[in-house]
C-alpha cells in the first residue's frame, strides 16, 4: 500500500481486525479502509457498526478518529450512516472532536452536497464560527470556505462586522494553519469604510512577524487589499507601507522553494506598490548558489526596482552576472541590461557601454544576446547610439542564433545609409538564405528592401535576388506573401513603398512585460495562491473552477478622493489629460499619403493657396526624389508625439469681450485679420505650451505650442527650438485634412535661420476653410513641418472652443423650438466635477469663450442655465447646465444635431470652467 501496490484482496481479513482495543492497530486498519473501501463498497458496509460504536467511545481521541475516518470513506451507502454520529460530534463537549467534525462536514459535502444541505449541517457549521475554542473556529472557517468554493453563489460565509470581530479574536489564538484559513477568509471581506479597513489592518499586522511564511503572505494579502481603501494622506498608510517591507525581505532568507513563491508574489507587489521595496534592492542581488529559478525571479524584480537612484549598483551587478556559468542566467542578465537602458533613460548610455564591454568578451552567447538588446535600445532612442554599429558589425560572423542574426540584419537594414558596406553585409547573409530560419529570412527580405529604398542605384540586383528567392524558391507562405507585397509596392508606387517600409516604428514601451492593471489588481487579491505564482487569474487555469468569482480590489473610500488615485474611475474630467492619443498608424499614414500625393482637393481657393504657402509638396517628387534622396529616410511620427497635455488648451479668460464679435457675414477678410485686435485682448488666458514634437524624434527640432482664439481669429502659437548642432532654415508647415477644415492662413514665417540652441516664437493664424475630413478623435490635427533637414510629422488635439464663433447666441424662441426639435437620443449628459463657481460666474466665464447664456432659471434651489454656441462650420449646440449650490459637480446636458461633437464640447466646458 505504501509503495503503490494493490493489497485490496486482503479486505475481509483486515476488517476483522477492526474491533480491537489496540489503538495503533485500529489506526492502521482505518488507514487501510480509507484506501480500499471504494474498491470494495459491499465489504465496507461491514465496518459501519464499528464506526458508529467508536463515535460513542468515552475517549475523545477515538471518537474523533472514527468520525474522521468515516468522512474519508467515499462510499454512498456509508455516508448515510455517517449523518447521525456526525451530528452528535459537531456538538461534542470536547473541542477536539468538534474541530474534527467540522472538517468532516466539508468532506461529506464533497461526496454528497445535497445530503449536507438537507441535514442542516451547514447551519451547524456556521454556528461553530462563534465557538469558544479558536481551533474549532479556524476549522469551521476552513470547511465553510471550501464548501463556498464549490458554491460561489451561496452566501455561506456571510461576513459582517460581528463575525469579522470573532475571526480576528480567534486569529490571535489559533494554530498557524488556522491563521492562514482565517486570513484568507478575511481577505474576501469588503469593509464598509476606511475606518473599518484600518482597524482590521491594525489587528492583522502582528501576523507579519509570524515564523510561518504562509501566514505572513496571507497577512500581506489582507493588508495589500485593504490598503486600497485607505487614504494616502493618512499617517497610518505610511506606517503600513513601512511595516510591509521587512517581512517580505525576510521571506527571502527562507528555503529556496519558499523564496520562489515569495519572489513571484513580490513581483506583483512591486508592480502594484513599488514604494514598499524601493530601498531594498540589495536583497534581490543574486547569490551564485541560488537555484536558477530563484535567480531568474530576482533578476526580474531587480529590473522592476531599477531607478535612476540605484542604476549604477544594478548595472554593476548585472555585469557581474553576465560572466557567470549558467547560460540561461547569463542571457537573461544581458537582456536585463537592455531593459534597464529602456526603463531608465539616464542610464542608457552606461548600459550601452556595458553591453559593448560584454561584446568585447567575445563569449558567443553573450555577444548574440547583447546584439538583440541593442536593437531594442536603437528603437527606443533613435539617432543616439548608432555610433556603436561598427563594433556590432565586427561580430557578424559569430552570430549563429536566429534571433541575434535577425536583430543584426534589422540593424543593418535600418541604418543602411550609415553603413558603407551594408549591401555586402546583407549579401553575405543572402548566400545561405534557404538554410536560415523564417525569422531571419523575413528580416533579411525587409532589410534588403529598406536598403534598396535608401540606395536604389547600387542595390537593384540584390533586391531582385531576394525577391525572387522569397517569392519563387520558398515554401513558406508568410515569406512569399511578404515578398509579393514588397514586389508590388516597389513596382507600382515606389514612393508609397518608401512610406510603408521606412515608416517610423511605434516606440517600444518602457516595460514590455508589465501586467495589465486590471489583471494586476485581481492578482493582488490572490496573493499567496497558485494564481500569484502563475500570474494568471485562477479562472484561467484551475480545473473545475467554473464558478470562480472574480475578486477585485475595494474602491478607495477615503475623504480625499482625488484623481491621483489610480483606481478612480476614468471620470470624464480626465478626458482632457489623456497622456497621448495615439492615432491608429494605418490611418495616419494613409492620410498623410493622401495629403501629399493626392491632387489638391477641391475646396475653396484659399485652401489651395495655403497648401502652396506651406511649401510646395513636402513629400512628393516620385521616384526622382527617391533616387536623389540623400537624407536619412522619411519619418512619419506615428503615435510618438505627446498630444495635448492637460494644459495644452487655451481658454479665454472671463474678461474677453464676448458680444463684440463681428457678424458671421464679415467674410473671409476677417479671417485674415490676423492679430488685429490682439492688443486689447491681452487678458485672455492662454495655457502653457506643451511639447508636440520632441527633439529626439525630429533630428533636433523641438516644437511646442498651444491654440488660442481672439475675436474671430484662431491662432496656433508655436515655439520652435533648435536642439541640433546645425542651423535650421526653410521652415514650412502644412496640416492634414481635418474635421473642421483648420488650415494655416499664412505661411510659417521664420525670419532668420534658427541657430543651434535658439528658439523662436511664432503665432500662426489659422482659418477654417481647409478641406474637411472626419478624424478620430474628432479634434485630432495632423501636422507636417519641414525644414532644411527633413520633414517631420506630429499630431495634436485642439480644444474645441477655439471653434466657437462670436455670433453663437440664439433667440429664446428659436432655442426652445430647436431644443424640442432635436430628437432626445441626441442628448448627451456629462458631469463637470469639482467646480466651485456660482451660476453668474459660470455664465460670464463661458461667455468669454463664446458660450452664451440665453436664460437662467432657479428650480428647487438649483440654477439652470440654458446656453447655446455655434461652431465655425455652422453646427449649433444647445446646452442645459444644472448647478446645485451645495454640490461641486455640475450636470451638463448637450443637444446637437451632430451628437458626435458633444463629447468635445463637454471637454471644452470642463477646460474653460476649471481655468
Amino acid at each position: 500500500m505504501t509503495v503503490g501496490k494493490d493489497v485490496s484482496a486482503l479486505f475481509p481479513d483486515v476488517v476483522n481486525c477492526m474491533q480491537t482495543d489496540n489503538l495503533e492497530l485500529k489506526k492502521l486498519v482505518y488507514l487501510y479502509l480509507m484506501n480500499y473501501a471504494k474498491s470494495q463498497p459491499d465489504m465496507a458496509i461491514m465496518a459501519v457498526n464499528t464506526f458508529v460504536k467508536d463515535c460513542e467511545d468515552p475517549n475523545p481521541l477515538i471518537r474523533a478518529l472514527a468520525v474522521r475516518t468515516m468522512g474519508c470513506i467515499r462510499v454512498d451507502k456509508i455516508t448515510e450512516y455517517l449523518c447521525e454520529p456526525l451530528r452528535k460530534c459537531l456538538k461534542d463537549e470536547d473541542p477536539y472532536v468538534r474541530k474534527t467534525a467540522a472538517v468532516c462536514v466539508a468532506k461529506l459535502h464533497d461526496i454528497n452536497a445535497q445530503l449536507v444541505e438537507d441535514q442542516g449541517f451547514l447551519d451547524t457549521l456556521k454556528d461553530l464560527i462563534s465557538d469558544s475554542n479558536p481551533m474549532v473556529v479556524a476549522n469551521a472557517v476552513a470547511a465553510l470556505s471550501e464548501i463556498a468554493e464549490s458554491h460561489p453563489s451561496s452566501n455561506l460565509l456571510d461576513l459582517n462586522p460581528q463575525s469579522i470581530n470573532k475571526l480576528l479574536t480567534a486569529l490571535n489564538e489559533c494554530t498557524e494553519w488556522g491563521q492562514i484559513f482565517i486570513l484568507d477568509c478575511l481577505a474576501n471581506y469588503m469593509p464598509k469604510d476606511d475606518r473599518e479597513a484600518q482597524s482590521i489592518c491594525e489587528r492583522v499586522t502582528p501576523r507579519l512577524s509570524h515564523a510561518n511564511s504562509a501566514v505572513v503572505l496571507s497577512a500581506v494579502k489582507v493588508l495589500m487589499k485593504f490598503m486600497e481603501m485607505l487614504s494616502k494622506d493618512l499617517d497610518y498608510y505610511g506606517t503600513l507601507l513601512k511595516k510591509l517591507a521587512p517581512p517580505l525581505v525576510t521571506l527571502l532568507s527562507a528555503e529556496p522553494e519558499l523564496q520562489y513563491v515569495a519572489l513571484r508574489n513580490i513581483n506583483l507587489i512591486v508592480q502594484k506598490r513599488p514604494e514598499i521595496l524601493k530601498h531594498e534592492m540589495k536583497v534581490f542581488f543574486v547569490k551564485y548558489n541560488d537555484p536558477i529559478y530563484v535567480k531568474l525571479e530576482k533578476l526580474d524584480i531587480m529590473i522592476r526596482l531599477a531607478s535612476q537612484a540605484n542604476i549604477a549598483q544594478v548595472l554593476a551587478e548585472l555585469k557581474e552576472y553576465a560572466t557567470e556559468v549558467d547560460v540561461d542566467f547569463v542571457r537573461k542578465a544581458v537582456r536585463a541590461i537592455g531593459r534597464c537602458a529602456i526603463k531608465v533613460e539616464q542610464s542608457a548610455e552606461r548600459c550601452v557601454s556595458t553591453l559593448l564591454d560584454l561584446i568585447q568578451t567575445k563569449v558567443n552567447y553573450v555577444v548574440q544576446e547583447a546584439i538583440v538588446v541593442i536593437k531594442d535600445i536603437f528603437r527606443k532612442y533613435p539617432n543616439k547610439y548608432e555610433s556603436v554599429i561598427a563594433t556590432l558589425c565586427e561580430n557578424l560572423d559569430s552570430l549563429d542564433e536566429p534571433e541575434a542574426r535577425a536583430a543584426m540584419i534589422w540593424i543593418v537594414g535600418e541604418y543602411a545609409e550609415r553603413i558603407d558596406n551594408a549591401d555586402e553585409l546583407l549579401e553575405s547573409f543572402l548566400e545561405g538564405f534557404h538554410d536560415e530560419s523564417t525569422q531571419v529570412q523575413l528580416q533579411l527580405l525587409t532589410a534588403i528592401v529598406k536598403l534598396f529604398l535608401k540606395k536604389p542605384t547600387e542595390t537593384q540586383e540584390l533586391v531582385q535576388q531576394v525577391l525572387s528567392l522569397a517569392t519563387q524558391d520558398s515554401d513558406n507562405p508568410d515569406l512569399r506573401d511578404r515578398g509579393y507585397i514588397y514586389w508590388r509596392l516597389l513596382s507600382t508606387d515606389p514612393v508609397a513603398a518608401k512610406e510603408v517600409v521606412l515608416a517610423e516604428k511605434p516606440l517600444i514601451s518602457e516595460e514590455t512585460d508589465l501586467i495589465e492593471p486590471t489583471l494586476l489588481d485581481e492578482l493582488i487579491c490572490y496573493i499567496g495562491t497558485l494564481a500569484s505564482v502563475y500570474h494568471k487569474p485562477p479562472s484561467a487555469f484551475v480545473e473545475g473552477s467554473r464558478g470562480v468569482v472574480h475578486k477585485s480590489l475595494p474602491p478607495r473610500t477615503g475623504s480625499s478622493e482625488s484623481a491621483e488615485s489610480p483606481e478612480a474611475a476614468p471620470s470624464a474630467g480626465q478626458a482632457a489629460e489623456q497622456p497621448a492619443v495615439i492615432p491608429a498608424q494605418g490611418d495616419l499614414l494613409g492620410d498623410l499619403l493622401n495629403l501629399d500625393l493626392g491632387p489638391p482637393v477641391s475646396g475653396p481657393p484659399l485652401a489651395a493657396s495655403s497648401v502652396q504657402m506651406g511649401a510646395v509638396d513636402l513629400l512628393g517628387g516620385g521616384l526622382d526624389s527617391l533616387m536623389g534622396d540623400e537624407s536619412e529616410g522619411l519619418r512619419s511620427d506615428v503615435g510618438g508625439s505627446p498630444a495635448m497635455g492637460g494644459s495644452g488648451f487655451t481658454a479665454p479668460g472671463p474678461a474677453a469681450p464676448a458680444g463684440m464679435g463681428a457678424p458671421l457675414g464679415s467674410g473671409l477678410g476677417d479671417l485674415f485679420d490676423l492679430t488685429g485686435g490682439v492688443g486689447t485682448l491681452s487678458g485672455s488666458y492662454v495655457a502653457p505650451k506643451t511639447v508636440w514634437l520632441p527633439a529626439m524624434k525630429a533630428k533636433g527640432l523641438e516644437i511646442s505650442g498651444t491654440f488660442s482664439r481672439q475675436v474671430d481669429s484662431i491662432s496656433m502659437d508655436l515655439v520652435l527650438t533648435n536642439k541640433a548642432l546645425q542651423v535650421m532654415s526653410d521652415f514650412a508647415i502644412q496640416f492634414n485634412r481635418n474635421s473642421f477644415g483648420l488650415a494655416p492662413a499664412a505661411p510659417l514665417q521664420v525670419h532668420a535661420p534658427l541657430a543651434p540652441n535658439q528658439s523662436v516664437e511664432i503665432s500662426l493664424p489659422l482659418n477654417t476653410v481647409g478641406s474637411v475630413m472626419k478624424m478620430d478623435p474628432l479634434n485630432n490635427l495632423q501636422v507636417a513641418v519641414k525644414n532644411n533637414i527633413d520633414v517631420f510629422y506630429f499630431s495634436t488635439l485642439y480644444p474645441l472652443h477655439i471653434l466657437f464663433v462670436e455670433d453663437g447666441k440664439m433667440e429664446r424662441q428659436m432655442f426652445l423650438a430647436t431644443w424640442k426639435d432635436i430628437p432626445n437620443e441626441n442628448e448627451a449628459q456629462f458631469q463637470i466635477k469639482d467646480c466651485s463657481l456660482n451660476a453668474d460666474a459660470v455664465s460670464s466665464k463661458l461667455q468669454g469663450s463664446n458660450i452664451f447664456t440665453i436664460a437662467k432659471r432657479n428650480v428647487e434651489g438649483q440654477d439652470m442655465l440654458y446656453q447655446s454656441l455655434k461652431l465655425t462650420n455652422g453646427i449649433w449646440v444647445l446646452a442645459e447646465l444644472r448647478i446645485q449650490p451645495s454640490n461641486p459637480s455640475f450636470t451638463l446636458s448637450l443637444k446637437c444635431r451632430a451628437p458626435e461633437v458633444s463629447q468635445y464640447v463637454y471637454q471644452a466646458y470642463d477646460a474653460i470652467l476649471k481655468n
Binding site: K38, E149, T175, F181, A211, A214, V261, N289, L530
Partner: protein, 420 residues
C-alpha cells in the same frame, strides 16, 4: 481546500519509495511530469518547486536528498503546502534523527501514522512536535524491545493535553529534576564581496534557539541590552506580541524541549561587520592549458575572537582538469567530476595567514574560461554575536524553583561569497 491530495517521496535516483494519499489514489504516473522537469533541470537543486500538469499541480521541496512531491488539484496557497512539507521533513528529522530514505523505510509504520496525524483531508491537524510525540511516541531501542515483549504500541491512547489549550505548544504536567533554560544566539552572515574586497551586500540572519527543560507552566521573559537591533523579527507563536511592541521584552510560556524562539534579520544599513578578508589571484592564460591559483584568507573585524572552522569551496570552470596546489595550512581536495575545490583551513592565526596556491591544469585546446569562480567561505566564531546583540536577563514567573540559565553566542558564515 483539499490541500494536499497525495504525497510522494522520491529519492535522487528517481525511485518513488513512499506514497500517501489523503483522498483518492492518484496514480504514480503523475510523477512523470516531475521526472521530466527534473531531467530538464540537470542539477537537483534547480527543479522548479511548482509544476503544472494537465490535471494536477505538483509542489515539491528538496530536503536531505529526498524530493517531497505533493499533488494538489485546486487553487491552494503554495506557501502553505511548502511550509507543510518542510514541517513533515522536520518531524521525520526529529523522530528518526535523520530524514533519510533508510530511516523512512525502517519506520514506515510510524511515518504513516505521523502523516495521518499531521493532515486530515488536506487540513493540517497536528504539526507541533510536542503534540505529535504524545500521540505517537518516537522509536527508541528500549521501547521497541518492550513493545515486542508486551505487545503494547507506540501510539498514545489519550488526547494530548496541549492540543486544545490556548497554549497548544506546551503539554501539561512536565517534570524535571534539573530545571534548565538554555538559549543559543546564532548569527549567520550572508554577504557578497566583490573582486576588490568591498561589500556588495551583507546582512545578518539571526536566530535564538532554545532548549527549555522546566517543570510546570513557567512564564519567562527575556530582555536584551540592545533590543533596538531587532526591527525585523519573526516569532514563535508562544511570544506575546503586544508585550514586545510596547516594552521590547520577549514574554512567553515556552514549549517543552528544543524550539526556535525568534529569528531576526539585521540588514546592511546597520553595517554588518565582515570578519574575514580574502586575497585572491585566479587567472587563466590565453592559449596555454594552465592557470594560476593563489588565495589567502585573513581575519578582520573579528572583535578579538578567533575565526575557526574555516572551509572554502570553489566551483571551478568546466575546463579545469586538475589542480596542483600547496596549502600552508589545512588540506584541500579537488573533485575532477564536479569541479569542486574544497579547502579545509581550520583556525586562522593572524601571525601566519593560511594560503593555498599552485597551478590549475586546463583541458588542452579548450578556450580560456570566461567565468570567474566565486569563493564560498564558511567559518565560525564562538562567543560572539556579530550584530552585537546581547541578552540582558531572563526572569521566570509562575513557578517557585530556581532554574539554571545559560546563553551561548555563535557567529557563522551563511551564504558568504567572494567574487573573483
Amino acid at each position: 481546500m483539499k490541500m494536499i491530495h497525495s504525497l510522494f517521496l522520491i529519492n535522487c535516483s528517481g525511485d518513488i519509495f513512499l506514497e500517501k494519499h489523503w483522498k483518492s489514489v492518484v496514480s504514480q504516473s503523475v510523477c512523470d511530469y516531475f521526472f521530466e522537469a527534473q531531467e530538464k533541470a540537470v542539477d537537483v537543486e534547480n527543479v522548479p518547486p511548482v509544476i503544472s500538469t494537465p490535471h494536477h499541480y505538483l509542489i515539491s521541496i528538496y530536503r536531505d536528498k529526498i524530493f517531497f512531491v505533493s499533488v494538489i488539484q485546486t487553487e491552494v496557497p503554495p506557501l502553505f503546502v511548502i511550509e507543510f512539507l518542510h514541517r513533515v521533513a522536520d518531524t521525520f528529522q526529529d523522530y528518526f534523527g535523520e530524514c533519510s530514505e533508510t530511516a523512512i523505510k525502517d519506520n514506515v509504520v510510524i511515518v504513516y501514522e505521523l502523516l495521518e496525524e499531521m493532515l486530515d483531508n488536506g487540513f493540517p491537524l497536528a504539526t507541533e512536535s510536542n503534540i505529535l510525540k504524545e500521540l505517537i511516541k518516537p522509536p527508541t531501542i528500549l521501547r521497541s524491545v518492550v513493545n515486542s515483549i508486551t505487545g503494547s504500541s507506540n501510539v498514545g491512547d489519550t488526547l494530548p493535553t496541549g492540543q486544545l489549550s490556548n497554549i497548544p505548544w506546551r503539554r501539561a504536567g512536565v517534570k524535571y529534576t534539573n530545571n534548565e533554560a538554555y538559549f543559543d544566539v546564532i548569527e549567520e552572515i550572508d554577504a557578497i564581496i566583490d573582486k576588490s574586497g568591498s561589500t556588495v551586500f551583507a546582512e545578518i540572519q539571526g536566530v535564538i534557539d532554545s532548549c527549555i527543560k522546566l517543570s510546570g507552566m513557567p512564564d519567562l521573559s527575556l530582555s536584551f541590552m540592545n533590543p533596538r537591533l531587532l526591527d525585523d523579527v519573526s516569532f514563535h507563536p508562544c511570544i506575546r506580541f503586544k508585550r514586545w511592541e510596547s516594552e521590547r521584552v520577549l514574554s512567553f510560556i515556552p514549549p517543552d524541549g528544543n524550539f526556535r524562539l525568534i529569528s531576526y534579520r539585521v540588514s546592511s544599513q546597520n553595517l554588518v561587520a565582515i570578519p574575514v578578508y580574502v586575497k585572491h589571484l585566479i587567472s587563466f592564460k590565453e592559449n596555454s592549458s594552465s592557470g594560476r591559483f593563489d588565495v589567502t584568507i585573513g581575519p578582520k573585524q573579528n572583535m578579538g575572537k578567533t575565526v575557526e572552522g574555516v572551509v572554502m569551496t570553489v566551483h571551478m570552470p568546466k575546463a579545469v582538469l586538475n589542480m596542483n596546489l600547496t596549502a600552508t595550512q589545512g588540506s584541500y581536495t579537488f573533485d575532477p567530476v564536479t569541479k569542486v575545490l574544497t579547502w579545509d583551513v581550520g583556525k586562522i592565526t593572524p601571525q601566519k595567514l593560511p594560503n593555498l596556491k599552485g597551478i590549475v591544469n586546463l583541458q588542452s585546446g579548450a578556450p580560456k574560461p570566461e567565468e570567474n569562480p566565486s569563493l564560498n567561505i564558511q567559518f565560525k566564531i564562538q562567543q560572539l554575536a556579530i550584530s552585537g546583540l546581547k541578552v540582558n536577563r531572563l526572569d521566570m514567573y509562575g513557578e517557585k524553583y530556581k532554574p539554571f540559565k545559560g546563553v551561548k553566542y555563535i557567529t557563522k558564515a551563511g551564504k558568504f561569497q567572494v567574487r573573483t
